[in-house]
Amino acid sequence: MDPLLSVRDLKVEFDTRHGRVTALAGISLDVMPGETLGIVGESGCGKSITALAMMGLIPNPPGHLTDGQIVFEGEDITRASPRRMRQLRGRDISMIFQEPMTSLNPVFTAGDQIAEAIMLHQDVSKKEAWEEAVELLRVVGIPEPRRRAASYPHEMSGGMRQRVMIAMAISCRPKVLIADEPTTALDVTVQAQIFDLMRDIQEKFGVAIVMITHDMGAIAEMADRVAVMYAGRVIEQGRADDILDDPRHPYTSGLIGCIPALGREAASAERLPPLAEIPGVVPPLHLLGAGCAFADRCPLVHDRCRRERPPLAPHGMAAQEFLGGHAVACHAAEREIAA
């Protein structure tokens, strides 16, 4: 099966007061039809920039897409005209954002905003678009959809607003839905509802989802495959179960280890042991050296790590070949595999 969306050696730079900084240092990803790819990492790792690049929404200036390709159904969209991007965006590739409060227009009703998205891409009358909007609100589980279509965003709860965002995003039956931290602003019971809804929608419409998150728990629940990012690079990639059960990069295992255990399994009378820590902080992007960006925080660091950056595809595999497999950018992990 061919990937629906392929990112190849994508490089994005930003002009900052520290000069030009590399936000994405050549990343490669594949999104297969109907799957969920999780992109996980801490703040500043480049995960949201990756999402924006897939939408053709890197702000320029200060951002520059300097190298690489994003191929959607055979077309390199990094070279697409603004007009062509407007066609694709919202119709074939759509996005839901982190903050449903600020990404909806406060002076239009939910129904208006969904209908606008429909009329932009489909040849329908205002009335038909409105009816479709009501239907979409029903699909995303909003009670009394006809009444709610006439509501303004401020009259809705955060969860309901995120449902409206999802309704808008799926209004043209996109092939790829990019969700950038879709539940970070929501309470945990509402987050659970939104996750359930996203899985339902994937099943119903077969849409591929790219889920950007900092939460490994969300990855476990939502993703088929995972890319772990650190300082502008993908440092580990593979099936979600492989990554979660058998992480190879010390950063990935650190991220998993520092999550507090929850529930009955950890309900001992004993105090829980200290959390595993990753010492230090993510280095500022303008201070990255030639070696592995994680070297200063890594328990397995050795000389070579500081001199030479480990590539993601060890053993000379091309990106295409490790799709479905498990790839890691780490000298120590490579030694382990060779041994």
Binding site: T36, E42, S43, S157, G159, M160, D187, V188, T189, V190, Q191, A192, Q193, F195, D196, R199, H214, D215, M216, G217, A218, A220, E221, M222, A223, D224, R239, A240, D241, L244, G254, L255, I256, C258, I259, P260, A261, L262, G263, R264, E265, A266, A267, S268, A269, E270, R271, L272, P274, L275, A276, E277, I278, P279, V281
Partner: protein, 343 residues
């Protein structure tokens, strides 16, 4: 194991229980006035916290957990009088904090400090961080003036910062480091109680682990008590000895950590646990939630007559809508539910 006497601390690693709690809230209530609908209308109030009772014991951590709007932060702020309560009592070592005059309260604050949620807005951007940590020492006149610089240095080392960073400004630090500065400031006066209001929720998970471990180390070192506010059950399970679960301004379940997490009794607690993402729930295994809670909490301006959770509860019966369940003891816990879950 009686709850009022407190479940035994035993092997939890936490401090053994003293006779008297360090801090005890009795019937604590907070309401906020709402704008009048007309000049002649009666004023409406939003009852944010309604008659909660809890105890923080010396050397232990009480977690208050709930979703946004549950009143957990308001409860904690009222307990240290950063928000005024309109009813109830907060006894700190036997004296009612709510009845203290301004001078007594100012002295009392030496013993009760706060770490706020947002490390970006809780540090004055114009002050050097050394001055920020020193300020409580000067304000509350702690120790000799000449020793204070050394004390600030010591505090910096305690929280894992370098003393040479004292001359920097808050914006020169990362979120995690700023939260360490907040912790140093809270520790400055050698308090007995620190209110931690979501101290790690603005931090990345790797940094969160560092700060949580630090908070626990400091608790062991200085015998601190924490009143720990969080929406994250994993964090609460890691750091808290006792837990109060709040929903719409009331405590719906109150138990020690092993009891609560081994067998949540209130359907809302169970729903929170069920909703929290966990590494064990895999898409590959076709994970789906059985008892997912529907909808949003009702508005605190318009509370139902019966149980506030009844409208979302998978176990609700007609009785729940008519009759409000009171918090009552149940096998080592306290639960406000007519039909609690099996233990």
């Amino acid at each position: 194991m009686s709850f009022d006497g407190h479940p035994s601390a035993g092997p939890s690693g936490a401090a053994p229980l003293a006779e008297q709690p360090l801090l005890e809230a009795v019937g604590l209530s907070v309401r906020f006035p709402m704008p009048k609908k007309s000049p002649f209308a009666d004023r409406d109030y939003l009852h944010a916290v309604r008659g909660v009772n809890f105890k923080v014991h010396a050397g232990r951590t009480l977690g208050v957990v709930g979703e946004s709007g549950s009143g957990k932060t308001t409860t904690a702020m009222a307990a240290v009088r950063l928000t005024e309560a309109y009813d109830g009592a907060v006894m700190f070592e036997g004296r009612d904090v709510l009845k203290m005059g301004p001078e007594a309260l100012r002295k009392q604050r030496r013993d009760m400090q706060v770490i706020f949620q947002d490390p970006y807005s809780s540090l004055n951007p114009r002050d050097r961080v050394g001055a920020i940590v020193r300020e409580p020492l000067d304000l509350m006149d702690v120790g000799e003036r000449k020793d204070r610089a050394d004390r600030v240095k010591e505090l910096f080392s305690l929280v894992g910062l370098r003393p040479d960073q004292m001359a920097l400004f808050p914006h020169q630090f990362s979120g995690g480091q700023r939260q360490r500065i907040s912790i140093a400031r809270a520790l400055a006066t050698n308090p007995k109680l620190i209110v931690c209001d979501e101290p790690v929720s603005a931090l990345d998970v790797a940094i969160q682990a560092q700060v949580l471990n630090l908070l626990r180390r400091l608790q062991d070192q200085f015998g601190l008590s924490y009143l720990f506010i969080s929406h994250d059950l994993g964090v609460v399970q890691f750091i808290c000895d006792d837990i109060a679960v709040m929903y719409l301004g009331e405590i719906v379940e109150y138990a020690d950590r092993p009891t609560l997490f081994a067998a949540p009794r209130h359907p809302y607690t169970a729903a929170l646990l069920d909703a929290a993402p966990s590494l064990a729930r895999r898409k590959s295994a076709g994970y789906s939630r059985a008892g997912a809670v529907k909808g949003d909490p009702p508005s605190p301006m318009n509370l139902p007559k019966g149980c506030a959770f009844a409208g979302r509860c998978p176990r609700a019966q007609p009785r729940c809508k008519d009759e409000k369940p009171m918090l009552r003891p149940l096998e080592g816990a306290k639960v406000a539910c007519h039909f609690p879950l099996e233990g």
